[in-house]
Protein backbone atom coordinates (compact mmCIF):
# COMPACT_ATOMS: atom_id res chain seq x y z
CA UNK A 1 0.00 0.00 0.00
CA UNK A 2 1.29 3.42 -0.93
CA UNK A 3 0.97 4.85 2.54
CA UNK A 4 2.93 2.06 4.21
CA UNK A 5 5.69 2.33 1.64
CA UNK A 6 5.91 6.07 2.20
CA UNK A 7 5.97 5.66 5.98
CA UNK A 8 8.67 3.02 5.75
CA UNK A 9 10.76 5.27 3.54
CA UNK A 10 10.43 8.20 5.92
CA UNK A 11 11.15 6.21 9.06
CA UNK A 12 14.32 4.92 7.39
CA UNK A 13 15.20 8.46 6.41
CA UNK A 14 14.70 9.75 9.94
CA UNK A 15 16.70 6.87 11.34
CA UNK A 16 19.60 7.83 9.11
CA UNK A 17 19.26 11.36 10.40
CA UNK A 18 19.03 10.32 14.03
CA UNK A 19 21.89 12.57 15.05
CA UNK A 20 19.58 15.45 14.27
CA UNK A 21 16.97 13.94 16.58
CA UNK A 22 19.58 13.75 19.31
CA UNK A 23 20.32 17.45 18.82
CA UNK A 24 16.62 18.28 19.19
CA UNK A 25 16.46 16.19 22.36
CA UNK A 26 19.40 18.06 23.85
CA UNK A 27 17.70 21.32 22.88
CA UNK A 28 14.54 20.25 24.68
CA UNK A 29 16.41 19.23 27.81
CA UNK A 30 18.23 22.58 27.75
CA UNK A 31 14.91 24.41 27.48
CA UNK A 32 13.65 22.59 30.57
CA UNK A 33 16.79 23.61 32.40
CA UNK A 34 16.40 27.22 31.31
CA UNK A 35 12.87 27.34 32.63
CA UNK A 36 14.21 26.30 36.03
CA UNK A 37 16.68 29.16 35.94
CA UNK A 38 13.99 31.57 34.83
CA UNK A 39 11.72 30.63 37.72
CA UNK A 40 14.42 30.23 40.34
CA UNK A 41 15.06 27.47 42.85
CA UNK A 42 11.49 27.60 44.11
CA UNK A 43 10.48 23.96 44.35
CA UNK A 44 6.79 24.73 44.76
CA UNK A 45 6.56 26.95 41.68
CA UNK A 46 8.57 24.52 39.57
CA UNK A 47 6.41 21.60 40.55
CA UNK A 48 3.24 23.57 39.91
CA UNK A 49 4.22 24.56 36.39
CA UNK A 50 6.18 21.43 35.44
CA UNK A 51 3.80 20.23 32.75
CA UNK A 52 3.59 23.73 31.30
CA UNK A 53 7.37 23.77 30.92
CA UNK A 54 7.34 20.30 29.44
CA UNK A 55 4.82 21.16 26.76
CA UNK A 56 6.46 24.47 25.94
CA UNK A 57 9.72 22.58 25.45
CA UNK A 58 7.93 20.14 23.14
CA UNK A 59 6.31 23.00 21.22
CA UNK A 60 9.53 24.94 20.77
CA UNK A 61 11.43 21.84 19.72
CA UNK A 62 8.69 20.80 17.33
CA UNK A 63 9.59 23.72 15.07
CA UNK A 64 13.03 22.19 14.65
CA UNK A 65 11.76 18.75 13.68
CA UNK A 66 8.83 19.98 11.62
CA UNK A 67 10.76 22.50 9.57
CA UNK A 68 12.88 19.78 8.00
CA UNK A 69 10.01 17.43 7.17
CA UNK A 70 10.21 18.08 3.47
CA UNK A 71 13.86 19.01 3.33
CA UNK A 72 14.96 15.94 1.39
CA UNK A 73 12.11 16.29 -1.07
CA UNK A 74 12.97 19.91 -1.69
CA UNK A 75 16.65 19.16 -2.12
CA UNK A 76 16.05 16.53 -4.72
CA UNK A 77 13.20 18.51 -6.23
CA UNK A 78 11.27 15.32 -5.71
CA UNK A 79 8.16 17.10 -4.53
CA UNK A 80 6.73 17.56 -8.01
CA UNK A 81 7.58 14.03 -9.06
CA UNK A 82 5.90 12.50 -6.05
CA UNK A 83 2.67 14.24 -6.86
CA UNK A 84 1.97 12.97 -10.35
CA UNK A 85 -1.02 11.10 -8.99
CA UNK A 86 -3.65 12.95 -6.94
CA UNK A 87 -3.93 10.03 -4.52
CA UNK A 88 -0.27 10.31 -3.72
CA UNK A 89 -0.55 13.76 -2.14
CA UNK A 90 -2.75 12.39 0.64
CA UNK A 91 -0.43 9.43 1.11
CA UNK A 92 2.57 11.75 1.27
CA UNK A 93 0.89 13.97 3.82
CA UNK A 94 -0.22 11.19 6.12
CA UNK A 95 3.12 9.41 5.88
CA UNK A 96 4.99 12.57 6.88
CA UNK A 97 2.45 13.43 9.57
CA UNK A 98 2.66 9.95 11.07
CA UNK A 99 6.44 10.05 11.20
CA UNK A 100 6.33 13.51 12.77
CA UNK A 101 3.84 12.22 15.31
CA UNK A 102 6.15 9.35 16.16
CA UNK A 103 9.11 11.68 16.53
CA UNK A 104 7.27 14.19 18.70
CA UNK A 105 5.81 11.46 20.90
CA UNK A 106 9.19 9.86 21.47
CA UNK A 107 10.59 13.29 22.14
CA UNK A 108 7.90 14.14 24.69
CA UNK A 109 8.34 10.80 26.43
CA UNK A 110 12.09 11.21 26.54
CA UNK A 111 11.74 14.52 28.33
CA UNK A 112 9.58 13.03 31.09
CA UNK A 113 12.53 11.83 33.20
CA UNK A 114 14.03 15.31 33.00
CA UNK A 115 10.78 16.82 34.12
CA UNK A 116 10.62 14.44 37.07
CA UNK A 117 14.18 15.20 38.03
CA UNK A 118 14.32 18.97 37.56
CA UNK A 119 10.91 19.82 38.95
CA UNK A 120 10.53 17.08 41.55
CA UNK A 121 7.35 15.72 40.11
CA UNK A 122 5.75 12.32 40.79
CA UNK A 123 4.44 10.12 37.99
CA UNK A 124 1.49 8.20 39.39
CA UNK A 125 -0.42 7.49 36.17
CA UNK A 126 2.13 6.77 33.50
CA UNK A 127 -0.07 5.01 30.88
CA UNK A 128 -2.57 7.86 30.92
CA UNK A 129 0.27 10.36 30.68
CA UNK A 130 1.66 8.49 27.68
CA UNK A 131 -1.79 8.74 26.14
CA UNK A 132 -1.90 12.50 26.65
CA UNK A 133 1.55 12.86 25.10
CA UNK A 134 0.38 10.88 22.08
CA UNK A 135 -2.74 13.02 21.71
CA UNK A 136 -0.84 16.26 22.12
CA UNK A 137 1.90 15.23 19.70
CA UNK A 138 -0.76 14.31 17.15
CA UNK A 139 -2.28 17.78 17.53
CA UNK A 140 1.06 19.40 16.79
CA UNK A 141 1.94 17.04 13.99
CA UNK A 142 -1.12 17.43 11.76
CA UNK A 143 -1.08 21.19 11.15
CA UNK A 144 2.70 21.25 11.61
CA UNK A 145 3.26 18.90 8.68
CA UNK A 146 0.97 20.93 6.44
CA UNK A 147 2.70 24.17 7.31
CA UNK A 148 6.08 22.48 6.93
CA UNK A 149 5.20 21.69 3.32
CA UNK A 150 4.06 25.26 2.80
CA UNK A 151 7.03 26.97 4.38
CA UNK A 152 9.54 24.60 2.73
CA UNK A 153 8.61 26.31 -0.53
CA UNK A 154 8.74 29.84 0.88
CA UNK A 155 11.40 32.23 2.08
CA UNK A 156 11.99 32.80 5.77
CA UNK A 157 10.82 29.33 6.54
CA UNK A 158 12.23 29.09 10.02
CA UNK A 159 10.31 32.09 11.31
CA UNK A 160 7.21 31.46 9.25
CA UNK A 161 6.51 27.95 10.49
CA UNK A 162 6.26 28.77 14.22
CA UNK A 163 4.47 32.03 13.41
CA UNK A 164 1.71 30.14 11.61
CA UNK A 165 1.62 27.09 13.86
CA UNK A 166 1.73 28.48 17.39
CA UNK A 167 -1.55 30.46 17.48
CA UNK A 168 -3.29 27.51 15.89
CA UNK A 169 -2.24 24.94 18.49
CA UNK A 170 -3.28 26.96 21.56
CA UNK A 171 -6.03 24.40 22.32
CA UNK A 172 -3.47 21.59 22.14
CA UNK A 173 -1.19 23.43 24.54
CA UNK A 174 -4.03 24.21 26.94
CA UNK A 175 -5.43 20.69 26.82
CA UNK A 176 -2.11 18.86 27.09
CA UNK A 177 -0.80 20.99 29.93
CA UNK A 178 -4.01 20.79 31.94
CA UNK A 179 -4.49 17.07 31.40
CA UNK A 180 -0.86 16.28 32.25
CA UNK A 181 -1.00 18.47 35.36
CA UNK A 182 -4.19 16.75 36.53
CA UNK A 183 -2.61 13.34 36.05
CA UNK A 184 0.35 14.37 38.16
CA UNK A 185 -1.36 16.41 40.88
CA UNK A 186 -4.53 14.39 41.20
CA UNK A 187 -7.90 14.76 39.50
CA UNK A 188 -10.66 15.01 42.11
CA UNK A 189 -13.28 16.12 39.62
CA UNK A 190 -12.40 13.63 36.86
CA UNK A 191 -11.56 16.32 34.34
CA UNK A 192 -8.82 14.50 32.46
CA UNK A 193 -11.32 12.69 30.24
CA UNK A 194 -12.82 15.98 29.13
CA UNK A 195 -9.46 17.49 28.24
CA UNK A 196 -8.50 14.29 26.47
CA UNK A 197 -11.73 14.47 24.48
CA UNK A 198 -10.88 18.04 23.49
CA UNK A 199 -7.45 16.91 22.30
CA UNK A 200 -8.91 13.94 20.45
CA UNK A 201 -11.47 16.17 18.73
CA UNK A 202 -8.79 18.62 17.66
CA UNK A 203 -6.72 15.75 16.33
CA UNK A 204 -9.63 14.25 14.41
CA UNK A 205 -10.62 17.57 12.87
CA UNK A 206 -7.12 18.57 11.84
CA UNK A 207 -5.91 15.20 10.62
CA UNK A 208 -8.88 15.20 8.23
CA UNK A 209 -8.80 18.88 7.26
CA UNK A 210 -5.06 19.10 6.67
CA UNK A 211 -5.10 15.88 4.66
CA UNK A 212 -7.75 17.42 2.42
CA UNK A 213 -5.98 20.75 2.03
CA UNK A 214 -2.48 19.33 1.56
CA UNK A 215 -2.90 18.86 -2.16
CA UNK A 216 -3.57 22.59 -2.62
CA UNK A 217 -0.43 23.47 -0.69
CA UNK A 218 1.92 21.41 -2.86
CA UNK A 219 0.24 21.82 -6.23
CA UNK A 220 2.07 23.79 -8.85
CA UNK B 1 -12.06 47.33 44.28
CA UNK B 2 -15.12 48.00 46.40
CA UNK B 3 -18.28 46.34 45.17
CA UNK B 4 -21.10 48.62 44.21
CA UNK B 5 -20.98 51.80 42.20
CA UNK B 6 -17.89 52.69 40.20
CA UNK B 7 -17.20 56.41 40.26
CA UNK B 8 -15.12 58.43 37.88
CA UNK B 9 -12.94 56.70 35.34
CA UNK B 10 -13.46 59.31 32.62
CA UNK B 11 -9.81 59.12 31.68
CA UNK B 12 -10.38 55.50 30.63
CA UNK B 13 -13.42 56.48 28.59
CA UNK B 14 -11.43 59.15 26.75
CA UNK B 15 -8.58 56.71 26.26
CA UNK B 16 -10.87 54.08 24.76
CA UNK B 17 -12.66 56.42 22.38
CA UNK B 18 -9.49 58.33 21.54
CA UNK B 19 -7.55 55.17 20.79
CA UNK B 20 -10.35 53.67 18.71
CA UNK B 21 -10.87 56.76 16.59
CA UNK B 22 -7.13 57.29 16.20
CA UNK B 23 -6.70 53.73 14.96
CA UNK B 24 -9.66 54.02 12.62
CA UNK B 25 -8.45 57.36 11.23
CA UNK B 26 -4.89 56.18 10.73
CA UNK B 27 -6.03 53.00 9.03
CA UNK B 28 -8.42 54.87 6.74
CA UNK B 29 -5.53 57.14 5.75
CA UNK B 30 -3.26 54.15 5.20
CA UNK B 31 -5.75 52.32 2.99
CA UNK B 32 -6.57 55.38 0.89
CA UNK B 33 -2.92 56.40 0.45
CA UNK B 34 -1.80 52.90 -0.55
CA UNK B 35 -4.75 52.59 -2.93
CA UNK B 36 -3.97 55.91 -4.60
CA UNK B 37 -0.32 54.96 -4.87
CA UNK B 38 -1.24 51.72 -6.58
CA UNK B 39 -3.58 53.55 -8.95
CA UNK B 40 -0.72 55.67 -10.21
CA UNK B 41 1.81 52.88 -10.58
Amino acid sequence: MQLLAAVRKDVLLQWRLRSRSLAVFVFGATVLLLFSFAVGPNAGALRQHATGFLWLAVLLSSTLTLADTFQSEMEQRALEGLLLLPASSAALYYAKALVNWLQLSIFGLSLLPFMVMLYDVPLPRVPALVGIILLGAAGLSAPGTLYAALTAQAKGRHTLLPLLLFPLVVPVLLGSVRASALLIDGDPMEQVTSWATLLASFDLIYWSLCGLLFERVVED
Amino acid sequence: MTPGVLTGGWEFVWAAYGLSFAMFALYVLSVILRWKREQHL
Binding site: A154, L168, P171, L174, R216 | V13
Partner: protein, 234 residues
Protein backbone atom coordinates in the same frame (compact mmCIF):
# COMPACT_ATOMS: atom_id res chain seq x y z
CA UNK C 1 -11.60 50.43 -9.63
CA UNK C 2 -12.22 54.10 -8.98
CA UNK C 3 -15.56 55.48 -8.01
CA UNK C 4 -16.56 57.24 -4.84
CA UNK C 5 -18.37 54.44 -2.99
CA UNK C 6 -15.74 53.83 -0.31
CA UNK C 7 -15.48 57.55 0.44
CA UNK C 8 -19.25 57.90 0.69
CA UNK C 9 -19.44 55.00 3.10
CA UNK C 10 -16.58 56.29 5.21
CA UNK C 11 -18.15 59.75 5.27
CA UNK C 12 -21.47 58.34 6.43
CA UNK C 13 -19.65 56.21 8.98
CA UNK C 14 -17.97 59.29 10.41
CA UNK C 15 -21.33 60.99 10.82
CA UNK C 16 -22.87 57.99 12.54
CA UNK C 17 -19.92 57.55 14.85
CA UNK C 18 -19.83 61.25 15.69
CA UNK C 19 -23.51 61.33 16.55
CA UNK C 20 -23.59 57.98 18.32
CA UNK C 21 -20.48 58.72 20.37
CA UNK C 22 -21.67 62.19 21.32
CA UNK C 23 -24.90 60.69 22.56
CA UNK C 24 -23.13 57.87 24.37
CA UNK C 25 -20.58 60.15 25.99
CA UNK C 26 -22.63 63.20 26.96
CA UNK C 27 -26.33 62.45 26.79
CA UNK C 28 -26.85 58.91 28.01
CA UNK C 29 -26.82 58.63 31.79
CA UNK C 30 -24.14 56.63 33.64
CA UNK C 31 -24.91 53.00 34.28
CA UNK C 32 -26.05 51.90 37.71
CA UNK C 33 -23.01 49.88 38.79
CA UNK C 34 -20.27 50.64 36.33
CA UNK C 35 -20.82 54.37 36.22
CA UNK C 36 -19.29 56.30 33.40
CA UNK C 37 -16.83 53.56 32.46
CA UNK C 38 -19.82 51.77 30.96
CA UNK C 39 -19.75 54.29 28.11
CA UNK C 40 -16.81 52.39 26.65
CA UNK C 41 -19.32 49.70 25.71
CA UNK C 42 -20.91 52.03 23.18
CA UNK C 43 -17.78 51.73 21.05
CA UNK C 44 -16.50 48.36 22.26
CA UNK C 45 -19.55 46.28 21.36
CA UNK C 46 -19.86 47.69 17.82
CA UNK C 47 -16.16 47.06 17.24
CA UNK C 48 -16.66 43.48 18.40
CA UNK C 49 -19.51 42.92 15.97
CA UNK C 50 -17.51 44.38 13.09
CA UNK C 51 -14.38 42.37 13.93
CA UNK C 52 -16.40 39.16 14.04
CA UNK C 53 -18.04 39.97 10.71
CA UNK C 54 -14.68 40.74 9.15
CA UNK C 55 -13.25 37.38 10.21
CA UNK C 56 -16.36 35.53 9.03
CA UNK C 57 -16.16 37.31 5.67
CA UNK C 58 -12.45 36.44 5.44
CA UNK C 59 -13.32 32.78 5.94
CA UNK C 60 -15.99 32.99 3.23
CA UNK C 61 -13.50 34.57 0.83
CA UNK C 62 -10.93 31.88 1.57
CA UNK C 63 -13.39 29.07 0.89
CA UNK C 64 -14.66 30.78 -2.25
CA UNK C 65 -11.14 31.19 -3.55
CA UNK C 66 -10.36 27.52 -2.94
CA UNK C 67 -13.55 26.52 -4.72
CA UNK C 68 -13.68 29.03 -7.58
CA UNK C 69 -10.11 30.21 -7.96
CA UNK C 70 -10.90 33.71 -9.17
CA UNK C 71 -8.54 36.56 -8.30
CA UNK C 72 -11.39 38.69 -7.01
CA UNK C 73 -11.82 36.38 -4.05
CA UNK C 74 -8.12 36.63 -3.28
CA UNK C 75 -8.31 40.42 -3.38
CA UNK C 76 -11.31 40.32 -1.06
CA UNK C 77 -9.48 37.94 1.27
CA UNK C 78 -6.49 40.24 1.46
CA UNK C 79 -8.76 43.15 2.40
CA UNK C 80 -10.79 41.16 4.89
CA UNK C 81 -7.76 39.84 6.75
CA UNK C 82 -6.18 43.25 7.08
CA UNK C 83 -9.37 45.02 8.16
CA UNK C 84 -10.06 42.18 10.58
CA UNK C 85 -6.63 42.49 12.17
CA UNK C 86 -7.03 46.25 12.66
CA UNK C 87 -10.49 45.82 14.19
CA UNK C 88 -9.29 42.92 16.34
CA UNK C 89 -6.32 44.87 17.66
CA UNK C 90 -8.55 47.84 18.46
CA UNK C 91 -10.94 45.47 20.20
CA UNK C 92 -8.28 43.96 22.44
CA UNK C 93 -6.93 47.39 23.39
CA UNK C 94 -10.46 48.65 24.15
CA UNK C 95 -11.02 45.57 26.26
CA UNK C 96 -7.88 46.24 28.26
CA UNK C 97 -8.83 49.88 28.82
CA UNK C 98 -12.25 48.75 30.00
CA UNK C 99 -10.92 45.99 32.24
CA UNK C 100 -8.45 48.16 34.15
CA UNK C 101 -10.93 50.33 36.09
CA UNK C 102 -13.49 47.56 36.28
CA UNK C 103 -11.50 44.54 37.40
CA UNK C 104 -8.22 46.19 38.34
CA UNK C 105 -6.18 44.31 35.76
CA UNK C 106 -5.33 45.10 32.14
CA UNK C 107 -6.15 41.60 30.94
CA UNK C 108 -8.46 39.10 32.57
CA UNK C 109 -8.46 36.20 30.07
CA UNK C 110 -12.06 36.78 29.10
CA UNK C 111 -12.77 33.96 26.61
CA UNK C 112 -14.03 36.22 23.84
CA UNK C 113 -11.13 38.64 24.06
CA UNK C 114 -8.58 35.87 24.48
CA UNK C 115 -9.92 34.07 21.42
CA UNK C 116 -9.76 37.38 19.54
CA UNK C 117 -6.15 37.80 20.60
CA UNK C 118 -5.22 34.32 19.38
CA UNK C 119 -7.11 34.87 16.12
CA UNK C 120 -5.38 38.23 15.76
CA UNK C 121 -1.95 36.66 15.97
CA UNK C 122 -2.99 33.91 13.55
CA UNK C 123 -4.25 36.40 10.99
CA UNK C 124 -1.23 38.66 11.43
CA UNK C 125 0.84 35.59 10.58
CA UNK C 126 -1.18 35.17 7.40
CA UNK C 127 -0.50 38.80 6.47
CA UNK C 128 3.20 38.13 6.89
CA UNK C 129 2.85 34.96 4.85
CA UNK C 130 1.33 37.01 2.04
CA UNK C 131 4.20 39.46 2.13
CA UNK C 132 6.83 36.74 1.98
CA UNK C 133 5.37 34.86 -0.99
CA UNK C 134 5.87 36.52 -4.38
CA UNK C 135 4.02 34.13 -6.66
CA UNK C 136 0.42 35.43 -6.72
CA UNK C 137 -1.12 32.00 -7.25
CA UNK C 138 0.76 30.37 -4.39
CA UNK C 139 0.15 33.39 -2.19
CA UNK C 140 -3.58 33.19 -2.83
CA UNK C 141 -3.86 29.45 -2.32
CA UNK C 142 -1.69 29.32 0.76
CA UNK C 143 -3.35 32.22 2.53
CA UNK C 144 -6.77 30.73 1.76
CA UNK C 145 -5.68 27.41 3.23
CA UNK C 146 -4.21 29.12 6.30
CA UNK C 147 -7.39 31.19 6.76
CA UNK C 148 -9.63 28.11 6.61
CA UNK C 149 -7.41 26.33 9.11
CA UNK C 150 -7.48 29.32 11.46
CA UNK C 151 -11.25 29.74 11.06
CA UNK C 152 -11.93 26.12 12.01
CA UNK C 153 -9.80 26.66 15.09
CA UNK C 154 -11.81 29.61 16.41
CA UNK C 155 -14.60 27.63 18.10
CA UNK C 156 -12.05 25.16 19.49
CA UNK C 157 -9.94 27.93 20.97
CA UNK C 158 -13.03 29.64 22.39
CA UNK C 159 -14.27 26.47 23.99
CA UNK C 160 -10.91 25.51 25.48
CA UNK C 161 -10.27 29.00 26.89
CA UNK C 162 -13.79 29.16 28.35
CA UNK C 163 -13.24 25.87 30.06
CA UNK C 164 -9.74 26.78 31.19
CA UNK C 165 -11.19 29.92 32.75
CA UNK C 166 -14.15 28.28 34.42
CA UNK C 167 -11.76 26.63 36.81
CA UNK C 168 -10.66 30.06 38.00
CA UNK C 169 -13.94 31.95 37.85
CA UNK C 170 -12.86 34.78 35.61
CA UNK C 171 -15.40 37.49 35.06
CA UNK C 172 -16.16 38.22 31.45
CA UNK C 173 -16.89 41.36 29.53
CA UNK C 174 -20.61 41.94 29.05
CA UNK C 175 -21.62 41.63 25.46
CA UNK C 176 -24.85 43.50 25.78
CA UNK C 177 -25.34 46.94 27.07
CA UNK C 178 -27.72 46.61 29.96
CA UNK C 179 -29.30 50.03 29.64
CA UNK C 180 -32.40 51.30 27.94
CA UNK C 181 -30.27 53.55 25.76
CA UNK C 182 -29.82 51.61 22.58
CA UNK C 183 -29.51 54.66 20.37
CA UNK C 184 -25.80 55.33 20.84
CA UNK C 185 -25.09 51.62 20.53
CA UNK C 186 -27.03 51.26 17.30
CA UNK C 187 -25.68 54.45 15.77
CA UNK C 188 -22.11 53.43 16.51
CA UNK C 189 -22.81 49.91 15.28
CA UNK C 190 -24.04 51.25 11.96
CA UNK C 191 -21.07 53.61 11.89
CA UNK C 192 -18.43 50.96 12.48
CA UNK C 193 -20.08 48.60 10.00
CA UNK C 194 -20.20 51.27 7.31
CA UNK C 195 -16.57 52.07 8.05
CA UNK C 196 -15.65 48.40 7.75
CA UNK C 197 -17.44 47.95 4.44
CA UNK C 198 -15.98 51.18 3.02
CA UNK C 199 -12.48 50.13 4.05
CA UNK C 200 -12.93 46.64 2.62
CA UNK C 201 -14.09 47.99 -0.73
CA UNK C 202 -11.16 50.39 -0.97
CA UNK C 203 -8.65 47.77 0.15
CA UNK C 204 -10.08 45.19 -2.27
CA UNK C 205 -9.71 47.62 -5.16
CA UNK C 206 -6.12 48.25 -4.14
CA UNK C 207 -5.47 44.51 -4.09
CA UNK C 208 -7.11 44.09 -7.50
CA UNK C 209 -4.96 46.83 -9.00
CA UNK C 210 -1.83 45.25 -7.58
CA UNK C 211 -2.79 41.85 -8.91
CA UNK C 212 -3.37 43.31 -12.35
CA UNK C 213 0.11 44.79 -12.22
CA UNK C 214 1.68 41.52 -11.05
CA UNK C 215 -0.08 39.38 -13.59
CA UNK C 216 0.43 41.69 -16.56
CA UNK C 217 2.76 40.78 -19.39
CA UNK C 218 6.34 41.67 -18.63
CA UNK C 219 7.50 45.01 -19.94
CA UNK C 220 9.65 44.52 -23.05
CA UNK C 221 13.24 45.28 -22.13
CA UNK C 222 14.17 46.67 -25.49
CA UNK C 223 13.00 49.85 -27.10
CA UNK C 224 11.65 49.05 -30.58
CA UNK C 225 14.38 49.64 -33.20
CA UNK C 226 12.18 51.93 -35.26
CA UNK C 227 12.02 54.36 -32.37
CA UNK C 228 15.79 54.33 -31.93
CA UNK C 229 16.32 54.95 -35.62
CA UNK C 230 13.94 57.87 -35.49
CA UNK C 231 16.05 59.34 -32.70
CA UNK C 232 13.49 59.31 -29.92
CA UNK C 233 12.78 57.30 -26.83
CA UNK C 234 8.98 57.29 -27.14
Amino acid sequence: MRGPLPFILIGLATLCLAFGSYYGLFVAPPERYMGDVQRIMYIHVPTAWAAMLAFVWASVCAVMFLLRGTWLWDARLEAAIEVGVVLGLTLCLQGAIWARPTWGVWWDWDPRLTTTAVLLVAFAGIIILRQVVDDPAKRATWSSVATVIAAVDVPIVYFSVTWWNSLHQIQSTPDTVATAFHLPLRMNAVGVLLLMVGLMIARTRHAQLRLQRELADPVPNQIPTATIAAGGTE
